[in-house]
Amino acid sequence: MENLKIKINPDQIYFPAINFNCETGICEISGESYMEETYRFYEPVLNWLNTYFLEKKPIIFNVKLTYFNTSSSRFILEILFKLKKYQLEGGDVIVNWYYKKQDADMLSEINDFVDETALEINTLFFN
């Protein structure tokens, strides 16, 4: 399988950057997410994870999103559910979620994701 890499286009900041590495297992999503037709963006992301999980390798999932809309949150939840399922099947999963210290709304969202998925998420401040 190949790495999945999507860079941020400065004219389309509503698409996040994706940097999923199948060699190291370090996968990162960053930037903002509020595009139209959200499923078109997230479907290949979810498919990549499905394929990666078949290799039974560890994954470190880093979230560095500064904003995502409600439609995107549905797909982020889907990713987290997949990570939890992989963990329950014996997969080695670490999730790190970076947010700005003053962004209480983001922390509240992260806590909601933890409640919904029962996945442990490490919360860290942006540098």
Binding site: Y34, E37, Y67, T70, S71, S73, D103, D105, D112, D115
Partner: protein, 168 residues
């Protein structure tokens, strides 16, 4: 109370337009970083509601249908008001009224439960998670101000909603 107009726009709510207007608000609103971030999030949620659910649509170059409407952001006293208006189907007026009333009377905990329930119900290819109004209420930390407008001259119905953000 002193008022200042920050932004007014009327037309199609394509993603490029929403993104440019949101960036303008974030960079030019005279408020703290925390308040500007809240306004940014509220603006995008409200604007995307217009884009997705306005009955008045325009075809864009990529053949997608984009909703048309109006947005107005004003500063009054120590508050920012972000207001959108868009045409709706008449049968949706009652539903929107009920949804907003339910959000306004619910506690934060009740809204979180409702949000989780809606998340689970959302279809994979759904364009919205239908929790936008709840998120607007969370971000603004104020009750939603809303109105269903019946225009008797045109026989059209409109949904007007304002999020009020206290400047922090």
């Amino acid at each position: 109370m002193e008022q200042g107009n920050i932004l007014t726009y009327e037309g199609p709510f394509g993603i490029q337009i929403i993104s440019a207007l949101a960036k303008f608000l974030r960079e030019n609103c005279d408020a703290s970083e925390l308040t500007r971030v809240k306004l940014y999030k509220v603006f995008i949620e409200l604007a995307q509601n217009v884009a997705l659910y306005s009955l008045d649509k325009v075809k864009f170059f990529n053949n997608s249908d984009i909703g048309k409407g109006k947005v107005n952001v004003i500063e009054a006293g120590n508050n920012l008001y972000c207001t959108t208006i868009n045409e709706i189907q008449k049968e949706h007026g009652y539903i929107l009224n009920a949804n907003c009333a339910e959000i306004n009377k619910a506690t934060k905990n009740e809204l979180q439960i409702k949000k989780k329930k809606l998340h689970r119900l959302a279809e994979f290819e759904d364009t919205g998670a239908h929790v936008g109004l709840i998120m607007i209420s969370f971000y603004s930390e104020n009750p939603l101000s809303y109105e269903i407008i019946n225009d008797k001259d045109t026989d059209k119905m409109y949904f007007k909603i304002s999020a009020i953000i206290k400047k922090l």
